[in-house]
């Protein structure tokens, strides 16, 4: 069966960078990554995989491309890492470009496939190794590299300057006071119980989420603070480009902010990859087995607030509503039960998805794929037709996405497949339905 030809995508991050590569540089970089950085997992995974193809149906890219084998997890590894190993690193620039395309834009490193391989082979890890090689060679989709550059220079993802950051917080504090008159966003309070951190795009594009958390924290009576200085951004695109040195700097700064504020724990906004970066990949690279300060994802935080009655729900949300289980906190942290608890607590008509929990399909935006920017949007959205079908089957009108990447990715899917749904963060529903005590209500 001849597979349809791949459409050509122009991306200077790949097309221009490969022109500077020499065969020697490619070979020595590959050798360095495969022998100095990778060890037992690479060897054992390479030797154990029996090429059985049982992981194929785990991948939304494969399912959405009518079972085109080039999109199966093992198919992607075959086209990249197996070739690299077989040719002992003697590959050319075009090949590296194709590796980046596959590893950076056609895999969300969501690890669904490791639950379908009978050996539990971590294909996401292998594809991250491919990303690492590409990144070391400077071959990274341009938009993604730009976010990494921003991380490297400003320690946040969106080139936000400190004065803009503080301005945004103050503006959102004032906005929150329109609803909850004593709402605050306390800055740099040493010894606060909670340091709240968000991702770069919040101040940049979704500032109202900062107002929401101000209302929620105030109504719940939390002892919290946010840093006015670097370390407030917990997102981490360097983890996904393959620039692990920058990834580690970002995570270290994030934890240093918490140390400096002597916070007992970090509560983070609704983001999956940020949680993964802080708790797993970043901590690992920094030789911490676990995060040095407990990190609580928003789902768990809201769960605790609702369960303990710190937030009371008034009139529940009525429209039929469904949810996206974000891989990095459901498959990656087991928060699926809590997510259903809070959904049922705030909604009348919650319609669950199938498959769900750990088995949910990724949104196809995560793993840095959406950050590869407009050139890759079409391929990303077409790579997740199954997600559209899954949501459609619920008959819901609203989708809750407790993850930023999921949010943007699913908005694109809803749009492209004409699902006519609204995509919301959980906090947006929560501020709509929570009871604001009389003495806090703004006139």
């Amino acid at each position: 069966m001849a597979e349809p030809a791949r459409s050509i995508v122009v991306d200077p991050g790949l097309d221009e960078t490969i022109k500077k590569l020499t065969p020697e540089r490619i070979e020595s970089t590959i050798k360095k990554v495969l022998t100095k950085e990778a060890a037992a997992r690479l060897k054992v995974y390479m030797q154990t995989c029996v090429h059985c193809g049982l992981c194929a149906e785990a991948c939304h890219f494969y399912l959405s491309h009518d079972k085109d084998p080039r999109f199966s997890p093992v198919g992607k590894v075959k086209q990249t890492l197996w070739e690299i190993v077989r040719k002992k690193g003697k590959v050319d620039g075009e090949f590296i470009k194709n590796c980046s395309r596959i590893a950076h834009t056609e895999c969300n490193v969501c690890r669904r496939c490791s639950m379908y391989c009978p050996f539990g082979i971590d294909m996401a890890y292998l594809l991250l190794l491919v990303r690492r090689i590409c990144a070391q060679l400077g071959v990274v989709p341009q938009y993604l590299q730009d976010t990494v550059n921003s991380h490297a220079v400003t320690l946040n993802q969106m080139w936000v300057k400190q004065d803009e950051w503080i301005d945004t917080l103050q503006w959102q504090e004032e906005d929150a006071q329109d609803e909850v008159k004593n709402a605050r966003i306390p800055l740099d309070v040493e010894g606060a119980e909670i340091m709240y951190s968000v991702i770069g795009p919040e101040p940049k594009f979704l500032a109202q989420l900062l107002g929401n958390i101000s209302m929620i924290m105030t109504v719940a009576g939390m002892d919290w603070t946010m840093p006015s200085f670097d370390g407030w951004d917990n997102s981490n695109m360097a983890m996904y480009s393959g620039d692990f040195e920058t990834m580690a700097r970002v995570e270290r700064k994030h934890y240093e902010a918490a140390f400096k504020l002597k916070a007992k724990k970090i509560v983070m906004g609704e983001c999956g990859h940020a949680f993964r970066g802080a708790v797993y990949d970043g901590s690992k690279w920094l030789s911490w087995k676990q995060s040095p300060v407990p990190v609580i994802h928003a789902i768990q935080f809201y769960y605790e607030l609702i369960r303990d009655g710190k937030i009371k729900i008034g009139k529940k949300f009525e429209k039929p509503i469904t949810v996206q289980d974000p891989c990095n906190v459901v498959r990656g942290r087991g928060l699926g039960e809590m997510l259903r608890y809070i959904m049922n607590a705030v909604c009348e008509d919650f319609r669950d998805v199938s498959p769900r929990f750990e088995h949910n399909y990724c949104c196809a935006a995560g793993g840095g794929v959406i950050n590869c920017g407009p050139p890759w949007k079409k391929s990303r959205v077409e790579g997740n037709r199954v997600k559209a079908e899954q949501f459609k089957a619920t008959g819901a009108e609203v989708v809750v996405t407790p993850c930023h990447n999921c949010h943007s990715g699913i908005e694109d899917i809803v749009d492209y497949y004409n699902l006519g749904m609204h995509v919301k963060f959980f906090s947006e529903i929560l501020v709509e339905v929570m009871e604001i005590p009389e003495d806090m209500k703004a006139e």
């Binding site: 050996f119 539990g120 942290r333």
Partner: protein, 215 residues
């Protein structure tokens, strides 16, 4: 010829099989130190939990999604491992040379088990040829490995029934058995022992670290 394959070569193949497997495991354990996450994350409880879910038929989601494959692969592997161990003629040979023997299955049963292994091998071969996701990742070596796994059963079957010249078939059978033993540590057939480690690691990462399930 018969003396050679049934004497020194048997020794060599068992030594290579056992020695090679130990060597591979040893170097894996050493390399695992370099891979900094492995030892800290390994958990006996979650490792075993994962192995159990993947060693019992239909205990994992993917097995339930593919019932035919699941039945085929379990019967294939069970028969493949048990037949040579519980085979009467093998037992007699062990007794003749080492004076040890153990429980055996009736020959009619092992004969059927042999046929099952061959049938399942044909099924695997068809899968490889027909399913595009398998064909796409198939190399000539995959056919070779399947042949190495099936050959002792095919030749054993023919020898047992004496369908072809017995002596020749017996030599071929023993040779193919030896090839299989020697191939296990150095080819993808080493999944036989790596299975338990890859599963245990993934189970630990999912269970102990990520608080979720991997089946």
């Amino acid at each position: 010829m018969y003396e050679l394959v049934s004497g020194p070569l048997v020794w060599i193949s068992f030594i290579v099989f056992i020695g090679g497997s130990l060597y591979q495991l040893g170097s894996m354990l050493k390399l695992a130190k370099k891979d900094k996450v492995i030892y800290p994350y390994m958990s006996l409880k979650y490792g075993l939990r994962s192995i159990i879910h993947w060693i019992i038929p239909f205990a994992s989601t993917n097995m339930r999604k593919r019932p035919v494959m699941t039945i085929m692969t379990f019967t294939f592997h069970i028969c493949l491992v048990l037949t040579p161990i519980l085979l009467l003629s093998h037992n007699i040979l062990w007794y003749q040379s080492w004076k040890i023997s153990w429980w055996t299955l009736p020959e009619a049963t092992t004969d059927i088990m042999t046929v099952i292994v061959i049938a399942a091998s044909i099924f695997f071969l068809m899968r490889r040829l027909v399913l595009s996701e398998v064909r796409f990742v198939t190399f000539p070596s995959d056919y070779l490995l399947l042949a190495i796994a099936a050959a002792p059963f095919l030749t054993g079957l023919v020898a047992y029934h004496q369908w072809l010249p017995y002596k020749t078939m017996l030599i071929l059978h023993i040779l193919s058995g030896e090839i299989m033993l020697i191939a296990i540590p150095f080819t993808r057939l080493s999944h036989m022992f790596y299975f338990f480690f890859t599963r245990a690691y993934m189970g630990s990462e999912f269970g102990a670290v990520r608080n979720s399930k991997d089946w």
